[in-house]
Each structure stands twice: as C-alpha cells, then as structure tokens.
C-alpha cells in the first residue's frame, strides 16, 4: 500500500490573467482522510494560497462540492482510499463560473432558489394561539424527501440541460418547489405552477436523471420534476376542457 497519493488540483487566479492550470500535491494516503482533509493538509502545510470552501465536514452544510475525477462530489464524504492509487483530479464544480481555484460563483443558484417561492403560501394564516397545523406522519412523508436538499449544487453540475441552458431553473430549485407544493400546510401550488410551467422551468428537463444520481442526500430531483410535469399536464388538460365548455 503506497503511503502517499497525488492530488491534481485545478488552480485559477483571475488577477494573474493566466489560464487555469493543474497543480500536483503529494498528500498522505490515510484511511480516515477524505479529499477535503487532503486539501486542508495542502492549505495548512504545503500551499497556503489554495482557495476552496468548506465548513461542517459532515455532509450537511453543502459548502465543499467539487468535481473529483470528473464527478460532482461532496469532498467531505469521499475517502481518499476509494480513489487509490490515484492520482485524484480535483476541479471546481462544472457549469458555474469560477471565482478562483475551487471556488465557484453561486449567485445564479441563489436567485433560482428564491424564484420558486420556497416558503409557505396560504390564503389565510391561523393565529399562533390556535396551535400547530395538523400533519400526520403520512402527510409529512409526502414531501419529506424533497426537504432534505442541502443546496450543495452538485445536481446543477451534473445536469446537462443546465450546462447548455443556464436559464433552466434546475433540479434543486424545482425539487424545493415540490417540497412546498406537497406540504399540506401550503396552498401555493398554482402560483408556483404559473412560474415554473414554462420552457425554463419543468419542461426544459429532459429526464436524464443525473441529478438524482449525484445527490448526496437522496432527494431525487428528477422524480420531483417528473411528478411536477404530470401535475402540469393535468392542469393543462383541465384548463383546456374548462375553456371549451365555456
């Protein structure tokens, strides 16, 4: 068993005006180290200029997504050993503009999250003094899966449609819309359908399913979009029939 493994890290520094280049670092191949631990080792002991985001190191803050050997990956949940003997190629998440090194620009994603109105919409709000809205475990289960998204953006990096059409609302945001649509406390379904039933919304998705493949939390955005399309089609037929009958 070799004691070291090589990282090939894509470096990019806009102030230098140069093109991105790969830089190699030798790091200890420890059985309990993930790719993120190796990057931290580089930052602390080899090259302090390497820039990347990270925080919780337990797969819930969503900061440390990168391309590892070409796959969108949470680097805190990727053991070095699973890539032995290496080298391990680490690049910024695909389909996003790169700010520097492994840091991508996430503001497009943040805008799209807001665009789907991810909050409870109700015609009438009951006062807090009347207590909680009732929601059985079965009703909770209807949307729970779609509430598990950590906003790590791996699905956007995997989505070929987003790669070609940056206007596409994209997997995580559409799954989040479904999370509220399917919550029995919410009444915003129609409002969101109007926003999302268009060429940049649900109908752009070509059902490649890569988003669900890479999702570290099992959210299944592809399934969410599929359900959305079925609901959208039903609405369309209903509106057609209502119009004709008038």
């Amino acid at each position: 068993m070799p004691t070291n493994i090589t990282l090939e890290v894509l470096r990019y520094m806009p102030e230098d005006g140069g093109a991105p280049v790969f830089q190699e670092y030798e790091v200890p191949l420890r059985s309990d180290w993930v790719v993120l631990d190796a990057l931290n080792h580089v930052k602390d002991h080899i090259d302090g200029t390497l820039s990347y985001r990270w925080s919780c190191r337990m797969g819930v803050c969503g900061s440390c997504g990168m391309m590892v050997n070409g796959e969108p990956t949470l680097t805190c949940a990727a053991f070095l050993e699973s890539f032995a003997p290496g080298p391990i190629r680490v690049e910024p998440l695909a389909h996003f503009p790169v700010i520097r090194d492994l840091v991508v620009e996430g503001s497009d994603f943040m805008t799209k999250l807001k665009d789907v109105k991810p909050w409870v919409i109700r015609k009438e709000e009951k006062p807090l003094s009347e207590g909680e809205y009732r929601q059985t475990p079965e009703e909770l289960a209807d949307f729970k899966q779609y509430s598990m998204c950590i906003n790590c953006m791996l699905c956007y990096s995997a989505c070929p449609v987003y790669g070609l059409e940056p206007g596409f609302t994209g997997p995580a945001a559409l799954a989040l819309a479904q999370r509220y649509n399917l919550d029995n406390r919410d009444q915003g379904n129609e409002e969101r359908m109007e926003l999302l039933s268009n060429d940049e919304g649900i109908w752009s998705c070509t059902m490649v399913g890569e988003c669900s493949e890479v999702c570290p939390k099992g959210v299944d955005p592809a399934g969410a979009i599929q359900r959305y399309k079925l609901a959208g089609a039903a609405d369309w037929w209903k509106s057609l029939i209502t119009r004709k009958s008038k």
Binding site: E15, I99, E105, M110, V120, L128, Y133, Y180
Partner: protein, 584 residues
C-alpha cells in the same frame, strides 16, 4: 445580493444562522419599512445551526409546564443563569416554535398529526421538538427560505466582518471584506446585531464547524464590550474521535448505553442512578452533559477506557435498539457512522469521547439582547443572556436562537428609530481599517497560521479542558499571551484580492486567541467548581463568593480586566443538582 448604492441600513445583522435570520424576520415583522442587511462570511444555509441534530425544547404538551422547563434549565445551569431571562425564554419558546411550524418546518409528528416531542438529557419531561435527527438543518433552511420572501432583507453573502465602527458612544456599523473581490467597505447601520455563533475551534476536539471562530465575540471584545462567563464551555460526551462529529444525545434517549472497555455501564459509579433496561429521564445516560464528560475523565484515570489512534475513548452501544428503530429514529446517526467512521451502529459499537460542543459564555447582553454598547445587540451562541449558566441543557440552544433572535430584532428596531446619521470619525476609522488589512495581506511575517492554531488548541485542551487547576490555567495563560504576540507576525503567502482564505484564516486565528484569552482568565479567577467549570484545586461550588457572572474586558497588550455582575434569582433559590433519583 446587496442592492444598495450607499451601504446604509437601519439594522445590520452579522451572521446568517438561526439567530441572525430570526432577528432579520423579526425586524421586518416589527417595522416593514426598516432597511435590513444580513452580513455573513458564508451563505446563510451553510451556518453552523445546520449541524444541530437532536431538537428544540418548548412546552407544548398538557403534562408539561413552564415552571418545569424553567426549573430543569436553572438546575441544569447550576444556578448560574439569570432566572428572569429563563422565565422569558420558557414563556416565549412555545410561540416561537409554533411560528416556525407555521412557516413550514417539517417537525416530526404523532399519529394524530400533532407535533411529537422526545426526551432529552437533563429535562425531566418530554418537551423536545425534533425533525428526525436533522433538527437544526430543517430549522435553518425553513428560516432561510422564509426570509427570502421579504425584499427589505438584503444579504451580503460571503462578506467577512473585520471591525465594528463605534463613534459618539454607539455602534454604527461594520467594516467588511467582500470575499469575491477583496474590496473592503463600510456598511453603516443604526443598530447592529451580532449572531455569529460560538468559538469551539479554539479547542482541538470539537463538534464545531470550521467557521466557528468566535468572530463576533472578538469584534465586541475589541470594541470594549465584556465577554461574560467564558469559563463555561460544554463538552458533549459523545463525539467521534478525529472528526469530532457529534453523535446526538437522542441516541441515548432512545436507549443507547455508554460502556467502558469491560462493557460495563460505568455511569452508575458516578452518582447518576442505577442501570435500567429502559431509559430513565435525568438518570444514567440521560444525565446532564457536564457530568457525563467528567465521568469519562475519571474512567480514563482508572484505566478503564479504550485507547486508539486519537487517544482515549469509550463505546456507545445502540445495537440492542435494532435496525428498524435505528433507521426510523436515528437515521442520521447511522449515516454519519457509516460515511465518516466506517462503522455500522446496527452491528458495531460506536467509539466516542467528549468533544467541545458549546460555549455557554459570550457577549454580555441583558434580557432584551442589548449589550452595554448602545446600538449593539447580540443573540444566539455568540451572546450570553444568560439562560445557560454553567451548563446548557441539550435542546435549549436551538430554541434560544428563536426567542432571543426575535428579541434582538425588536430591540434593534426600537433603537434604530431614535438615531440620526453616522458620526464624524467613522470615515477615518474605515480608512485605518482598510490600511491595516492591506498591510496584513502584503505579508512579511514568519509565523505559520496552522502552527499557531495547533499550539493554541493544544494549550487550551491541556490547561482549560474538562478539569482545570490554577497551575494548568496559569501555564496556558502564559502561552496564549505569547501566541497573541506571535500572531502579529503571521505569514500570509497569498497577496491576492480574490477570495483570499489565507487572509481570513489569519484574522480568524486572531479572533480565536481573543476568545481563548477571555476563557482562560475567567477560569483562573473563578476559584470554585460549578457545572462545566471544574477546578480540582477548588472542587466545591461556592455560592457565597461566586454566584455571580464573570465579565472579561479587553486590555491592550495584557490579560483582560475581570469584573463581576450579579446573578438574577427570582423564584428558585440555589439548590443541589441531583440526578438519577427523585428531584431533591
């Protein structure tokens, strides 16, 4: 993203976690015309609230009462908390939690659709709301998503605050680095709320995320605001070795056992009750966190722990719960063990050790979240109100974010309404800060950031860990003083403006050293043992001399000046903390 041309607001919030977002929404609810800025060094949903697992306490069930919640909190805190603050906390907790339910938080439910509650360490009645075992994650995302609908809340995501602007005796805003561009800008405001969380990264083994460096505590400390009760640091008894990943207390409330190397439930030897087959509230594995962590050290001294690559550990055994219960009630525990420790708790025991989890102390505030500096407010782990005293009970801190985040928001609005424009000296302060940061970035030093950080963490573990003595603390105090001098000569090899994380890591290190200094000196001067602060040279609680809050004020170039502040007692006179039998 920030929209404003001139960066001026009514209320500016530093930190976008649970307390900060609740505060932002409260400002909007109180006065929708207020201009609000949320400035955070990470995107809000990356904040460490996201990692909280077990739950959030609030009285909701008919068999419970506000007084019971108050008493559990006060006795758990070893009477170091302010009882007026605790009463406000337990009174407002149910409404805040219901508000979050109305905003869509996916709380776990009973069959009839009502909110489910679970038991938690130190609480004698089940009152902890939970969203399976990702409670903090769901609360943070619910707050963040809810906040998106309010246009007056403008976000400065990935802006790193380096200084509070204080003029004319009041806080008037901050100076911050925009990470993406490196530009350093003032963001002015009539009221400022600090909700930047705790400082667990001062220690080597911690559940805390990388971002938890006590930024806001240090900013306030440097502006002359005292840090209160910093000697009280909570160890969580069950973290994974190496990563410090927390295995939630819920794993014990569901029936998990702590076993020493002989497979013996050793807590029975430490006045924590007798082993029963079913979990008993306030007993054994459901005793309070400080007592469980202290029992670990005693067990280590007896040579009855196991030893691995990262030092001593014991076993947490949940195998007897069975795969079905583990998957339905503790799915995240199983996921964490499998993904990060390569252990399946259905089949194997989990190695655990005490790890730094929470700082009870923080920025000195009153019951309305106001600090002694006019215009500066604080809430959440960054603040010390105090409701947590010498030991926080699990599941009180998530609720605290809501109750005191909302209070901070309301107080900030009231203050902002009375204020005029920025003071005369602000622009000079901004120029000075821009020059300081520019000098720091241009490098020239020789000390390694990672090297100094490790020296700090090691000395804190050695000198100010679970058990402390005059000698251990004095030695660490000297070391921290040296590190304070050496951090001024830190080497920064990265001179770029774009997303310079070496620059911010150097600043974070300096923030942590301020926190370390306050912790050590507060601990040296408290010559008693209470809750999480255990002095082997002063093993007893001393109410006569120390039923009072420590206040550490920063002094230039030396140790802090210590002052004291009375503890508020309303209805519960100091008593003995009793666990493992009927309440005394």
């Amino acid at each position: 993203m920030a929209q404003a041309e001139s960066l001026e607001y009514d209320v500016l919030i530093v930190g976008g976690g649970g307390a900060g977002l609740r505060a932002a929404i409260a400002v909007y609810e109180t006065d929708p015309k207020m201009r609000i800025a949320v400035v955070s060094k990470v995107y809000p949903m990356r904040s460490h609230t996201v990692s909280a697992e077990g739950g959030a306490a609030a009285v909701i069930k008919p068999d419970d009462s506000l007084d019971d919640h108050a008493y559990d909190t006060i006795s758990g805190a070893d009477w170091m908390c302010d009882q007026d603050a605790v009463e406000a906390f337990v009174n407002e907790a149910p409404e805040e939690m219901l508000q979050l339910e109305h905003w869509g938080c996916p709380w776990s439910r009973e069959e009839d659709g009502s909110v489910a509650v679970r038991s938690f360490g130190g609480m004698k009645i089940k009152r902890t709301w939970f969203a399976s075992d990702k409670t903090g994650f769901h609360m943070l995302h619910t707050l963040f998503q809810t906040s998106l609908q309010y246009d007056p809340i403008e976000r400065y995501d990935e802006w790193f605050v380096t200084k509070l602007l204080v003029d004319d005796g009041r806080c008037q805003g901050v100076v911050a680095i925009e990470m993406a561009t490196g530009r350093v800008e003032p963001i002015l405001a009539k009221s400022v709320i600090i909700s930047t969380g705790g400082c667990g990264k001062i220690f080597p083994f911690t559940t805390n995320a990388n971002i938890k460096n006590g930024d806001g505590m240090s900013l306030a400390y440097r502006a002359g605001v005292p840090l209160k009760d910093m000697e009280f640091i909570q160890y969580h008894p069950t973290g994974l070795p190496f990563t410090g990943i927390l295995i939630t207390e819920a794993s014990r409330s569901e029936g998990g056992h702590l076993l020493n190397k002989d497979g013996y439930r050793y807590l029975q030897d430490y006045d924590l009750g007798t082993p029963e087959a079913e979990p008993v509230l306030r007993s054994m594995e459901l005793g309070p966190r400080d007592r469980l962590s202290q029992a670990f050290i005693k067990e280590q001294e007896k040579g009855r722990t196991l030893v691995g690559e990262y030092g001593h550990y014991v076993h947490l055994d949940i195998r007897h719960l069975g795969e079905k219960v583990i998957n339905s009630r503790l799915p995240f525990v199983r996921e964490l063990c499998v993904k990060y420790e390569n252990i399946d708790p259905v089949k194997e025991m989990i190695p655990v050790r005490p790890v730094i989890h929470y700082v009870m102390g923080g920025i000195h505030t009153d019951i309305d979240a106001a600090t002694p500096l006019p215009g500066l407010f604080s809430a959440g782990e960054a603040a010390c109100v105090s409701i947590n005293g010498a030991n926080r009970l699990g599941s009180n801190s998530l609720t605290e974010l809501l109750v005191f985040g909302a209070r901070a928001g309301k107080s900030a609005v009231a203050f902002a309404r009375e204020q005029g424009g920025a003071g005369a000296s602000v622009s000079a302060q901004v120029r000075d800060e821009q020059e300081r940061l520019s000098r720091l970035r241009s490098g020239g030093g020789s000390e390694s950031i990672a090297g100094l950080r490790k020296e700090m963490q090691d000395t804190m573990e050695e000198g100010a860990g679970i058990y402390r003595t005059e000698a251990s603390l004095a030695s660490s105090a000297e070391k921290i003083q040296q590190l304070q001098e050496r951090v001024a000569k830190v080497a920064i090899s990265d001179s770029s403006l774009t997303f310079n994380t070496e620059l911010t890591a150097a600043i974070e290190l300096s923030y942590m050293l301020d926190g370390a200094e306050a912790i050590i000196h507060s601990a040296i001067n408290r010559t008693e043992s209470r809750g999480s602060h255990q002095r082997t040279d002063h093993p007893d609680r001393d109410d006569e001399n120390f039923l009072k809050h420590s206040l550490a004020y920063r002094e230039q170039g030396g140790p802090p000046r210590m002052e004291y502040h009375p503890v508020v007692i309303t209805r519960w006179p100091p008593g003995e903390r009793v666990y493992g039998q009927k309440k005394g």
